[in-house]
Amino acid sequence: MLKLVDVVTHYGPIRVLKAVNLEVRAGEIVCLLGGNASGKSTTMKTILGVVRPTAGTVEFEGQRIDRLPTESIVRRGISLVPEARRIFARMTVWENLAMGAFTRQKAPPGELAEDFERVYALFPRLSERQQQPGGTLSGGEQQMLAIGRALMARPRLLLMDEPSMGLAPALVDQVFDIIQAINRQGTTILVVEQNATVALSIASRGYVLQNGRIVVHDTAAALLGADHIRRAYLGEN
């Protein structure tokens, strides 16, 4: 479904991604692991066309997307739950969700209403706070809003950048349960995480990114079991 081949991305003169090869197949949850500054978020931004790769190709559903503007890439069915949530703080919860459905303005109103209901069913808290500005929500609620907003686009591929960051442990489990539920409803997911153990427990495969290169790639079970990999690359003891 998504395929990155030898992707190189620069920020100015700095080569952040040196050679990223990565594939996500339809229906999977794939996990991209790595420490700080390893290039995880840059990989996400490159897929979305927010930054342009200087070499290599990005394919989505068999077509190259690495030269398209961001809004065209998004319209093909990719959504992002960004790092640090980045909800629209001055807009209400309802307006944030409506922004998520921005690419689907021509959808029949009944269909959009269904999607609002689906998000509210997943996150009842959001339903209670529809008219509240996003900036007044708690961190956990903002994360729910960021996930709900991404789902409103009915993505075929959902990119999630550190969904567990800054959340209380109980909330982390809840978020990962929801990620699994979303996946079971038919959405393919690529999740970037520092919290390797939790992420691998729901993923089918994992990639480890270090210094802008994929250094390890295996099934999630194998990565979870391989102590030396976790010690060497994921900073665990």
Binding site: T70, E71, V74, R86, F88, M91, E95, M99, F102
Partner: protein, 313 residues
């Protein structure tokens, strides 16, 4: 002193009329600032050109000897033409004078200097094509001097009511557009977080273009209203009116739509008070003293955000 108090209500009516028009023009500064963090210093010239377009429409109607001139249809005709022309001009300005700069990552100063250049260019273009002498709006043919009535001892002309009414309807329309429609949501999204707006599927360039169109069209409408009110226009009128409206936008909190309207009203009223209680020659001194005082003591304006925009660049 008794004399002054007698004319005060009258002056306040003028101030209200002037203030709503300042607010209308100020919206152009504030809308553009809200999404690009740049001051479009050519906005005053767009306002001036709006006044010229209104004058062309009115003069054409008079020359063609179209009978039955009545403000009910003539004023909307002037407004529509001025707004379309000014709006398109704003879009062209953004496309050719500003976008090439900010797309290549120029500093904030780049587009600002380009705007000053565009302002000088437009002033001179109008002077060369339309002549340096002032044009006269035949307002009295549309609004006869007898069209006025007394409200509690204050004489209010129909023209002033039309000005306030047109400005208020346009501000209300803009408010609804920005707060209630999908287009308005996308404008607010771009203003708040451009990258996330793109990730939602918003075409950023189009939203910037639409914003320039809206702001410039309101400026053009302001030009027609000012032309009708003062009855004399020239190629240089955008300079001081633009600075006044900019003051109004800063006073209300630049980037804030309600702030622009509020700032316009306050500035108009203060100016009319200054004319009443001081030598009228000090009118502009008072207006720009407000600009300086706002920038020194409350740079975010009355309704502005506390976030420093310097951090966003």
């Amino acid at each position: 002193m008794a004399d002054v108090l007698q004319i005060l209500p009258q002056q306040l009516v003028f101030g209200l009329a002037l203030g709503t028009v300042y607010g209308l023009i100020a919206l152009g500064y504030t809308l553009v600032y809200g999404i690009l963090f740049m001051i479009n210093f050519a906005h005053g010239e767009i306002f001036m050109i709006g006044a010229y377009v209104g004058w062309w429409v009115l003069s054409w109607l008079l020359q063609a000897q179209v009978g039955g001139l009545h403000p009910v249809w003539v004023v909307p005709l002037m407004l529509v033409h001025a707004m379309l022309f000014a709006g398109l001009l704003g879009v062209l300005l953004e496309r050719f004078a500003y976008r090439p700069l900010y797309m290549r990552g120029a500093t904030r100063l780049g587009p600002l200097i380009s705007a000053i250049g565009a302002s000088i260019f437009l002033q001179n273009a109008v002077m060369l094509t339309q002549g340096a002498r002032m044009k006269v709006y035949m307002t009295s043919l549309l609004f006869p001097r007898t069209w006025r009535f007394q409200v509690a001892g204050v004489s209010v002309s129909v023209l002033v009511l039309v000005m306030v009414g047109v400005a208020a309807v346009m501000m209300w329309g803009l408010h609804l557009l920005v707060q209630r429609t999908s287009l308005g949501r996308s404008i607010r999204a771009v203003a708040e977080d451009r990258e996330m707006a793109a990730i939602m599927g918003v075409n950023i360039r189009r939203v910037i273009g639409v914003t320039f169109f809206l702001g410039s069209a309101l400026g053009g409408a302001g030009g027609v209203l000012v032309g009708l009110y003062y009855t004399q226009i020239d190629f240089f009128m955008g300079y001081s009116a633009g600075l006044k409206a900019f003051t109004a936008a800063v006073l209300g909190g630049i980037g804030n739509i309600r702030g622009a309207m509020l700032g316009g009203l306050i500035l108009g009223l203060i100016e009319s008070l200054a004319v009443t209680f001081m030598n009228p020659a000090y009118k502009d001194v008072v207006a720009f003293a407000i600009l300086i005082l706002t920038l020194v003591f409350k740079p975010t304006g009355l309704l502005g955000e506390t976030v420093s925009d310097w951090e966003k660049v």
